[in-house]
């Protein structure tokens, strides 16, 4: 059993003495429980989950973007990095958490390091691909017109790389939200924790599982939709015409 050091007064898993009929008999879904425990269980878990995911994606994106910018021109550098990324992704999240524990202990940092690693792995190839997908013609003409390197990057390459980068971000965001549930194996945080606890009961409490699960999926979908909206805003030229 994972020792959650200094766990707060965690989510309340009802024992069968106190609930109403729905809860006691473990029906498929009890709205009453959800209403009763939104504040002390579901909502904190949700905010923790958002926090975990957001930090991981934020840091991951910054690292992936910087590295991508520095190496996309030099295939000899980005290739091995991409290969390494693919390998990293095969490591089971549970295992990765534990492997990091000797270095950073049982803290949020450990979880974040792992999540950032996974995010990086998904974002880096996309950013490189996006930057490399800029049509050579456009670059040639930009050079011929007298753009400096910096101007070319800012006015031509980045805008044209955006669609691919946003596509990668969507994948990364959805995956990170999904992966963050596993953090519960290490820390009492995130939407995975209620599920984790519920599974430990001899008769797992359905409502809690479904509620936390639904919230996670909803969170992922909302994030995805936000990114789609962002893409439409940033990439008006893809909406029209053949592209």
């Amino acid at each position: 059993m994972i020792v959650a050091a200094g766990a707060p007064a965690g989510p309340i898993v009802p024992n069968f003495g106190s609930g109403n009929r729905c809860v006691v008999e473990n029906h498929t879904f009890c709205w009453s429980w959800v209403n009763a425990h939104w504040g002390d269980t579901l909502q904190p878990a949700l905010s923790q989950h958002v926090e975990l995911s957001a930090i991981a994606i934020g840091i991951g994106f910054v690292i992936a973007f910087t590295t991508g910018l520095l190496t996309y021109r030099r295939r000899w550098m980005s290739r091995p990095l991409e290969g390494f990324s693919a390998l990293l992704y095969t490591i089971p999240s549970l295992a990765l958490f534990q492997i990091l524990v000797p270095f950073t202990g049982i803290t949020t940092t450990t979880v974040e390091v792992a999540l950032v690693a996974y995010t990086l792995v998904m974002l880096f190839p996309n950013i490189v691909a996006g930057l490399n997908s800029v049509p050579a013609d456009a670059l040639d003409v930009a050079r011929a017109m007298g753009f400096t390197r910096r101007q070319t990057l800012l006015s031509v390459e980045l805008p044209l790389a955006l669609p691919t980068i946003v596509a990668g971000l969507r994948v990364a965001v959805v995956s990170t939200v999904s992966l963050a549930t596993i953090a519960a194996f290490l820390l009492p945080k995130g939407l995975g924790y209620p599920i984790f606890l519920a599974l430990k009961e001899p008769s797992p409490f359905r409502t809690e599982i479904y509620a936390a699960g639904a919230l996670t999926v909803a969170l992922a979908l909302v994030a995805d939709l936000l990114l789609v909206a962002l893409r439409r805003f940033l990439v008006p030229w893809a909406r029209r015409g053949a592209v």
Binding site: P135, D137, A138, D140, V141, A142, R143, A144, M145, G146, F147, T148, Q151, V156, P159, L160, V235, P236, W237, R240, G241, A242, V243
Partner: protein, 338 residues
């Protein structure tokens, strides 16, 4: 010329006259280039002078270095040896970006930026040079009109345009900052024949109006003959085979290579270069009324063709309003070829 007449203001576009900035003279002296890792020159000791306002076509088989030469003019490719001068100044005298902002560059399908509107594309160099928004806007409208595009296209994206439209936008973009020199790299290659012919005529018209120096690369010798004031025929390895007017090249090919490259029927093709309104016509005789007619805007070649068609050795040349301008005879055509 309405578009250009509007454009009176001065400071940013300093040597701006009503006609637009004059073309620049380009001088290539002993230019050579060999790509690393190859064992033959791409361009070999090329020397060429292109007069200001001239449309010079670089033509030759693939591997002859025509594109390399073009791209050395705006330093997209570096010279191994030799000099290139524009209006007397070496291309190495200024920074690369400054040089390129003064040269228009057009490639196939225009090389438009997919993420910018037509207006955005056209305004690229002016914006780089720091023009104000209203200046850019009026210039964009001006140019759209100049290249024969509807003003409503300004807010469209390249993906929504046809090949011919894209090419016109590319041209407008190259002309935006009013450069004295235009470089064009096989611009009409990807277009179907009808559109291609249209655009060739458009470019010729623009060249007459704007009098800029244009260096035009193509692999199509017929296009070269149609477009060029002078043609530079290059052979493999960037060696200059002949540099002359189209008529001279057709009449007196310098060597066997040029002869083969230019192809057959040279005499007839020379005839196509002259129009009836440009030559001296014979006085109309009384018999003129019974001769078949031909418009003065037709070429000598069309005249000869009509003569064969109508089995008549002479035709009456007729002006725009139907007035008789003179006669053209088969003998005249033959003498023209000199």
């Amino acid at each position: 010329m309405t578009a250009l007449a509007v454009f009176g203001r001065g400071s940013r576009r300093s040597n701006r006259s009503i006609e637009g900035s004059p073309g620049a003279e380009i001088r290539l002296e002993h230019v050579s280039k060999r790509y690393p890792g190859t064992n033959s020159d791409a361009v070999s000791d090329l020397s060429l002078t292109i007069a200001a306002g001239e449309l010079c076509v670089l033509v030759g088989p693939s591997g002859c270095g025509k594109t390399t030469t073009l791209r050395m003019i705006n330093r997209l490719i570096g010279l191994d040896s030799g000099e290139i001068e524009i209006d007397g100044r070496s291309t190495r005298a200024t920074t690369v970006t400054e040089l390129r902002r003064g040269i228009g560059y057009v490639i196939q399908e225009g090389g438009l930026f997919p993420h910018m509107t037509v207006a955005g594309n056209i305004g690229t160099v002016p914006r780089l040079l720091g023009w104000s928004r209203s200046e850019v806007k009026s210039r964009v409208s001006e140019l759209l009109e100049l290249v024969g595009l509807d003003l409503t296209l300004a807010e469209r994206y390249p993906a929504e345009l046809s090949g011919g439209q894209k090419q016109r936008v590319g041209l407008a973009r190259a002309l935006a900052a009013d450069p004295p020199l235009l470089l064009m790299d096989e611009p009409f290659n990807a277009l179907d024949p009808v559109v291609r012919e249209h655009l060739q005529d458009e470019l010729l018209r623009l060249h007459r109006e704007l009098a800029k120096t244009i260096v035009f690369v193509t692999h199509d010798v017929d296009e070269a003959i149609k477009m060029g004031n002078r043609i530079a025929i290059l052979r493999q390895g960037g060696v200059l085979a002949q540099y002359d007017t189209p008529d001279s090249i057709l009449a007196r090919p310098a060597n066997e290579f040029v002869q083969t490259f230019v192809g057959e029927n040279r005499a007839l093709r020379r005839l196509a270069l002259r129009r009836l309104e440009e030559i001296e016509l014979a006085k109309p005789t009384g018999a003129a009324k019974r001769l078949p007619e031909i418009a003065a805007s037709a070429s000598l070649r069309e005249a000869v063709s009509r003569m064969i068609e109508t089995k008549s050795e002479a035709l009456t040349v007729v002006g725009e309003n139907g007035e008789t301008l003179g006669l053209v005879r088969l003998g005249d055509a033959m003498r023209m070829l000199g």
